[in-house]
């Protein structure tokens, strides 16, 4: 069995979406709107595969009593707590994430965990700056200087005299050299993306389909 079928599907699906972008034609446009709205359904189905993989991983750990197998129980506990309150319980009209227990778990477990992980960045950004910003070469020096000037321009650390112009310098760095290279990167990314996507719908790039055996 070759990959010809799937490649044809990718081609047709892709061409229809491109057509929708350029052409003003009722049936095509409403088809495209429909597709964009509902293709997430595939992702919703796929999550079952994800959960199966997660279960396999942790059940395996439990069975083999691997290092840290007790933590797998914690994962299952969290998972089922969310599933039971989110899928099977109702409180009046409130279901899913609006169910008070589910919402409570979200606000007091998931939200603070996420926010705290996010806030670790404040520490990591400091250690990364310390380690990486060394004036080893001209390039590294430019990196370092730009970072320090922008940081000094952000907050009032040094004030008075020459330092009063730091915010302006910061703004200039952001508006001119920073903008110039962002534009260039974006242009490159746009072209790279487009050519990769074209290769996919023309069937030149097919690695993503994996093997073609059986």
């Amino acid at each position: 069995m070759s990959n010809r079928g799937p490649l044809a599907v990718a081609f047709i699906a892709g061409m229809l979406m491109i057509g929708d972008y350029f052409l003003d034609w009722g049936p095509l446009n409403s088809y495209a709107e429909w597709v964009q709205k509902y293709y997430i359904i595939i992702a919703a189905f796929a999550i079952v595969l994800g959960v199966a993989s997660l279960f396999k991983l942790h059940l395996g750990k439990l069975k083999r009593k691997e290092d840290g197998w007790r933590y797998s129980i914690v994962t299952f506990f969290g998972f089922f707590a969310m599933i039971v309150t989110g899928l099977f319980m109702t409180s009046g009209d409130l279901t899913g994430t609006k169910h008070p227990w589910n919402a409570w778990l979200y606000t007091n477990v998931q939200l603070p965990l996420g926010a705290t992980m996010f806030s670790l960045l404040a520490f990591f950004i400091a250690s990364a700056a310390y380690r990486a910003f060394r004036a080893r070469s001209l390039e590294a020096t430019l990196l370092l200087l730009a970072a320090c000037l922008v940081m000094l321009g952000q907050v009032p650390i040094l004030t008075g005299g020459v330092f009063e112009s730091l915010p302006e310098i910061k703004q200039w760095i952001l508006d001119i050299p920073n903008m110039a290279s962002k534009r260039a990167i974006m242009i490159g990314v746009g072209l790279g993306m487009m050519s990769t996507a074209l290769k996919i719908i023309f069937g030149i790039e097919r690695t993503y389909l994996g093997g073609s055996e059986e």
Binding site: F123, A126, Y130, R134, A147, M151, L152, P156
Partner: protein, 286 residues
């Protein structure tokens, strides 16, 4: 390992510890901050100063606890200012998770000024629909918000009796963690001619400066810096004590300074080491 090597390889845990300390201390002990108030913040403050006593202001509370570090201080300072000036406040929100935060804050500050819910202020709560909500308030607020956050019918709220649309507000304030400022500029200001002041997070602020230049916004308070500036203005005008934004800004300044000092230390070590070791030796060491 000599001192220069050590300067180049400080264990990252020491850096973490220093960051921890320099951020916590100002938070526990905020002092009046010496900062220059920027033009957009001053404009916002002055526009609110010019709201006549007894008139109405609409606040669109478009942020949830996720962005409260940046926006709540501004919100609080503005509420203090408005209550101080005896202005009536109507609060709505376009964000589902915002009403509780708005309610807690309103209750906390209104009691300080003996202001009554329903008479001096009201929280109409959340309505989904973003720009559509903003647009519909141009014709009839009662229709889109038939009841307040607690389910009380608007007909029975004394404050809401004479308020029907944007014409009945002296000013509209959008406290936004997203792009709702766009809708207000387009609809409330563009289509219905309402005066507009906004506060936004650091990520979004850049998008909104053009509105200020085009006079579509009467003032703009940006991120934690803007909030700290606002607290400074409130301190000068009403003797309000500096609060969380000021504390936050001090923590920011100290943390930035700490990072820069670490960068400098690393570079001192790097250069001192390079001078001392001749190139030959260095290659042998490898």
């Amino acid at each position: 390992m000599n001192i220069w090597d050590k300067l180049q390889s400080i264990d990252r845990r020491w850096i973490f510890l220093v960051m921890f300390i320099v951020i916590i201390i100002p938070l526990m002990n905020p002092k009046s901050l010496d900062i220059n108030v920027s033009e957009p913040t001053r404009k916002a403050f002055e526009r609110i100063e010019n709201v006549p006593s007894g008139s109405n202001v609409l606040i669109s509370w478009d942020f949830d606890p996720g962005s409260q570090a940046e926006l709540l201080p501004t919100a609080k300072a503005m509420l203090h200012q408005l209550f101080e000036k005896n202005v009536n406040i109507v609060v709505i929100t376009l964000w589902p998770a915002a009403p509780t935060l708005a309610d807690t804050t309103l209750n906390e500050i209104s009691t300080l000024y003996n202001k009554q819910e329903g008479v001096d202020w009201v929280n109409l709560g959340f309505k989904p629909g973003l720009d559509i909500v903003v647009k519909s308030m141009g014709s009839d607020i009662h229709e889109i918000f038939p009841a307040d956050d607690k389910g009380k019918r608007v007909e029975n709220i004394p404050l809401m009796k004479d308020i029907r649309n944007y014409d009945d507000f002296n000013l509209v304030i959008d406290l936004s963690a997203g792009s709702s400022v766009d809708f207000y500029v387009e609809q409330a200001h563009g289509a219905y001619g309402a005066d507009l002041v906004a506060a936004a997070t650091g990520v979004m602020i850049g998008d909104f400066y053009p509105y200020l230049e085009a006079n579509q916004l009467q003032g703009l308070v940006g991120a934690l810096v803007g909030a700290a500036e606002y607290e400074k203005l409130m301190e000068k005008a009403y003797g309000l004590e500096p609060d969380k934004a000021t504390a936050g800004m001090q923590a920011q300044a100290k943390a930035h300074l700490a990072i820069i000092i670490f960068i400098v230390l690393g570079n001192i070590g790097f250069f001192a080491k390079r001078k001392k070791t001749s190139p030959k030796l260095e290659s042998l060491n490898k």
